[in-house]
């Protein structure tokens, strides 16, 4: 498996992402600096990791979303290469137009760093294919703008197409308000594109890969990606 991790100025979870992929059995991914005009051939997976690309002083992900490297990522995505965006990466993918919706400021207007429960929905080959539908994993979130929003038609289409990949759930595994810390529409934590080869999600499975560090539920996700 050949994976590449895109690094913008201000990206800060590229190491965590590379560690997680490696722990799941992939070779160490290539780190692609944002100014590199071309992506390598033969990529199986492109990851846009978390951080504050270009400082995110404009709308989160807006600068990165319009950067040359993202045009290259979009081209690869069109050809079917898998693209995973986590946290800031999810924001960037919505700004690029690879995924529908936007990430608004958290409902309570505060940065939130805590473990949340995610329910896997519509297991998708290449991402969550090896995880059973309805599996609940406990992984951290750490963001200020993770409140997923899209208009009702878009949300209905996402649901109808089975493109909701993860939903926030409470202790009883229900997608209630209690489990929805950032206020996302319909508790959506991750969505897929129409081709099901682009996945964006707010929480950080890459920070849940070792029981000594708060749990390893995220590892199942990466193993599913790598296998």
């Amino acid at each position: 498996m050949h994976a590449a991790v895109i690094v913008f100025p201000g990206t800060n979870r590229e190491k965590d992402m590379a560690d997680a992929l490696e722990k799941a059995g992939a070779p160490r991914p290539s780190m692609i600096w944002h100014r590199e005009p071309d992506l390598p051939d033969g990529l199986d997976l492109i990851v846009v990791p978390g951080g504050f690309s270009y400082g995110d002083y404009l709308r989160c992900g807006a600068m990165a979303g319009n950067s040359p490297v993202m045009r290259a990522v979009a081209e690869k995505a069109k050809k079917g290469v898998r693209v995973l965006g986590v946290c800031n990466g999810f924001q960037v993918l919505t700004e690029t137009g690879l995924l529908p919706g936007v990430l608004l400021r958290n409902a309570r207007l505060k940065f939130i760093c805590k473990h949340v429960r995610l329910r896997v929905e519509n297991p998708t080959p290449g991402f969550t294919g090896a995880m059973a539908d309805g599996t609940v994993i406990r992984v951290p979130m750490a963001h200020n703008e993770g409140n997923y929003f899209a208009d009702t038609d878009t949300l209905d289409r996402l649901e109808g197409d089975g493109r909701v990949a993860f939903r926030y759930v409470d202790e009883a595994d229900q997608p209630s308000e209690a489990g929805n810390d950032n206020g996302s529409q319909r508790n959506i934590a991750g969505v897929l594109n129409e081709g099901r080869n682009v996945l964006g999600m707010m929480p950080h499975p890459e920070n849940a890969i070792d029981p000594a560090y708060g749990g390893d539920d995220g590892l199942a996700f990466f193993k599913s990606i790598v296998q």
Binding site: P9, G10, N12, R13, K15, D16, D19, W33, G51, F52, Y54, G55, D56, Y57, K110, F111, I112, C113, K114, P140, A142, N144, H204, E206, N207, I209, D210, A212, Y213, G214
Partner: protein, 739 residues
């Protein structure tokens, strides 16, 4: 601007006394121009010169086999084996944070991280110690909100986890909040960078952000009391840009991996002035700067403004000759300014030029050496008499007192704060916020560092010397309670106006206590910061000498936290309890008494008890450990029970108080040198304690029940549901902030 007349009013506005100005005249042999006056002013400000504190700081223990670099550099450096070093320091940003809490706190975090990565370390963790006024004071909520958001905003963006901290609320901080930020970094011992300039003719290079007019005279502001017009000082507060700092961090570390750097110094307080003066002074050389080459953010800036600006995210360095272009490429990659602005000279002077014309010429070593040192008069604090336990009477049940105390501002959960900090980025945080000390593992090894910040200001107010000792031993205990060997500390001395003998007496007392404790525990001070003049309208803060402690775990698998995760174990208290209620939180919150002497600190006993605890953890005889401090035994037990893995707690039955000690004194007294451990081998531990001549007793039992149905039962009182305790403990701070 050289035409500006140097009047006595201008001199006074620069915070220089008449006598200090006389010294300026004798050093220069002439009248200074305005730029030179500004340079003397900031270099001799309390903030930069430590003129009131220096004679006393020298009495602190600063050496040991583990110390690679003690105080005097950007940060302290200790050896953690295998060719690795931990580099750390704590620093205050009190005055700016009161005026503009978000930016004040944010730039405090940015400044301390630069101190650490200037020395070649990658920052691996941030900590903070915060003090706010009474919750009922109209400014408190606004300050808490802004300071926490500022700390999070900066640290989260740069990608360094914020892993531990402490917070107190007290009316003495109504007019001066305290924001002390600490950073711990990791470096190889053969790749540590220092600030001493050398090599005549070597280029002096400016990198990072452009210079603007922000923060001019910040150091002078931090060297005076606030009056009613504190708000008007807002323009002296710097504005932080964590994105640029992240780029600066990565660019500097990339440059440091080469051999191009001779020396490097961050531009913190007093910006270009203190960085260039310190680099020249340490190297015994001169520095020439062409100020018109400094990258500027604003037009029309003067040499005076350039030398005094405290714009953030800037560094000054001396490069090896001929390497400028190579180095420039790295900074261009990271889209940062890189400008050769001068060179190292053999003149021994700081010579500034502006478009080729001389703008200032000051001999460096007299500027530094003639920096005033004051032996301020001081009077010792009158220590109150011991508070007799029987003078505190109560009818309240222990369960009710426990419930009441868990929702007081000083003991309530800090979750509302630390959930706004990214504490798990980098994936190395083993022990998260909410425990005794945070534990952060060192990648590629079995090692980990334990770290904590501690101080009990109410003890320091009542008895500065005991309070100074206690701050050190509490940090040392918190590190020990994880199983780590405490190695060294950094200190942040926050006090009022040192020109008042009573305040100076608090400072002296705390230093004496800290020095004694540091010596007795082999716990040297390797870096630190002093913040004086924390007074408003003559009202001083509580003396607050914050200790940041760092310790080493050689095998992070042999470490424990405080949570009662294992069922059906015995809870043993190591250490003696007389039921000391003087200055306790119980006395303060339940009986409304601020009387009495704080608990005495027996350094020899602390040392032996800490060693014993570390042995128990290393030998895997205990599954959890918690140091006892604020609130005493019952608070400690409740914290351990509430922290259990499932999130809802584990049931615990607590033995009644022994005969001879009133129950409330036994359970809420704040006797020192005590720890709680959870174990399945209580008999072994009790007999080990007997052999070590240390007091130990069984105080409780955890059972199988955990989750929503778990309870805490004290002696013969009815069981209390842990869910209800948790709800009041977790509820106070969010409720307060939302109200």
């Amino acid at each position: 601007m050289t035409d500006t007349a140097i009047t006595s009013q201008l001199i006074a506005e620069h915070g220089l006394t008449e006598q200090e100005y006389e010294t300026v005249l004798s050093i220069l042999g002439r009248e200074p121009n305005i730029t030179e006056l500004g340079i003397f002013s900031v270099m001799w400000s309390e903030h930069c010169s430590y003129k009131s504190s220096r004679v006393w700081l020298k009495t602190l223990p600063t050496s040991g086999p583990q110390v690679i670099q003690g105080p005097g550099e950007n940060a302290g450096v200790i050896d953690i084996g295998d060719g690795q070093a931990a580099i750390f320091k704590i620093e205050s940003h009190n005055h700016p944070s009161y005026i503009e809490p978000y930016q004040g706190a944010a730039t405090g975090v940015g400044g301390i991280m630069r101190d650490v990565f200037t020395m070649g370390a990658r920052p691996i963790a941030n900590l903070n110690a915060l003090r706010f006024g009474d919750p009922s004071h109209p400014k408190t909520r606004h300050l808490v909100d802004g300071v926490v958001a500022g700390i999070g905003g900066y640290g989260n963006c740069i990608g360094v986890p914020t892993v531990a901290g402490e917070v107190n609320f007290h009316a003495a901080y109504n007019g001066n909040c305290l924001v002390n930020a600490m950073t711990v970094g990791l470096a190889d011992t053969d790749k540590i960078f220092y600030s001493s300039a050398s090599g005549i003719g070597n280029p002096v290079v400016y990198v990072g952000s452009k210079t603007g007019r922000d923060g001019i005279h910040g150091a002078t502001m931090a060297s005076a009391e606030f009056s009613e017009d504190a708000e008007e000082k807002r323009p002296t507060v710097q504005v932080g840009d964590p994105f640029t700092e992240k780029l600066l961090l990565e660019a500097c570390l990339e440059l440091m991996a080469t051999d191009m750097i001779v020396s490097i110094q961050d531009m913190g307080a007093a910006g270009l002035t203190s960085s260039s003066v310190e680099m020249a002074d340490k190297g015994g050389v001169g520095i020439r700067l062409d100020l018109d080459r400094v990258p500027m953010r604003e037009t029309g800036m003067t040499p005076y403004e350039l030398m005094l600006s405290e714009s953030q995210e800037r560094m000054l360095m001396v490069l090896k000759p001929g390497r400028e272009d190579e180095a420039r490429k790295i900074f261009e990659k990271w889209e940062l300014d890189f400008e050769v602005i001068g060179e190292v000279t053999d003149t021994g002077s700081l010579q500034l030029f502006w478009h080729g014309e001389p703008a200032a010429d000051i001999p460096v070593s007299p500027l530094v050496e003639a920096s005033p040192v004051y032996e301020r008069p001081w009077v010792p604090t009158q220590v109150p008499a011991e508070l007799k336990t029987n003078r505190i009477e109560t009818q309240e049940s222990l369960s009710d007192s426990l419930k009441a105390m868990l929702q007081t501002p000083d003991l309530a959960s800090r979750r509302w704060i630390w959930e706004q900090y990214d504490y798990m980025i980098r994936g190395e945080t083993l022990q998260r916020p909410g425990g005794d000390a945070a534990v952060v593992s060192i990648p590629g090894t079995k090692k980990a560092l334990a770290m904590t910040v501690d101080c009990t200001p109410r003890y320091c107010k009542a008895d500065p010397e005991t309070g100074g000792r206690q701050a050190v031993v509490e940090a040392w205990r918190n590190v020990s309670a994880t199983g780590a060997l405490p190695l060294a500390m950094t200190n942040n001395m926050n006090f009022g106006n040192p020109e008042k003998p009573a305040i100076m007496g608090q400072f002296v007392g705390c230093i004496k206590g800290m020095a004694a404790a540091g010596l007795a525990l082999d716990f040297p001070v390797v870096s630190g910061n002093v913040s004086l003049y924390n007074e408003t309208e003559g009202q001083a803060i509580l003396p607050t000498p914050v200790i940041g402690g760092v310790g080493l775990l050689k095998d992070s698998a042999r470490s424990v936290g405080l949570a009662l995760d294992k069922p059906s174990e015995t809870i043993v208290m190591i250490g003696a309890t007389v039921g000391w209620l003087g200055q306790s939180l119980y006395a303060r919150y339940v009986t409304g008494s601020d009387d009495g002497a704080p608990p005495p600190v027996d350094l020899e006993l602390e040392r032996e008890t800490g060693l014993f605890i570390r042995t128990l953890i290393h030998d895997r005889l205990v599954s959890a450990c918690h140091d006892l401090s604020d609130g005493g035994l019952l608070i400690g037990l409740a914290e351990m029970a509430m922290a259990a893995k499932n999130g809802a707690g584990r049931s615990v039955t607590i033995a009644a108080a022994p005969d001879g000690i009133p129950a409330h004194a036994f359970f809420f007294g704040e006797d020192q040198a005590r720890y709680l451990v959870s174990t399945s081998q209580a008999d072994t531990i009790l007999s080990m304690a007997r052999r070590a001549d240390l007091p130990a007793q069984i105080v409780g039992q955890s059972d199988e029940v955990s989750g929503e149905n778990s309870t805490l039962t004290i002696g013969t009182e009815s069981p209390i549901s842990l869910a209800s305790l948790r709800s009041v403990h977790e509820g106070w701070l969010p409720g307060y902030m939302a109200s």
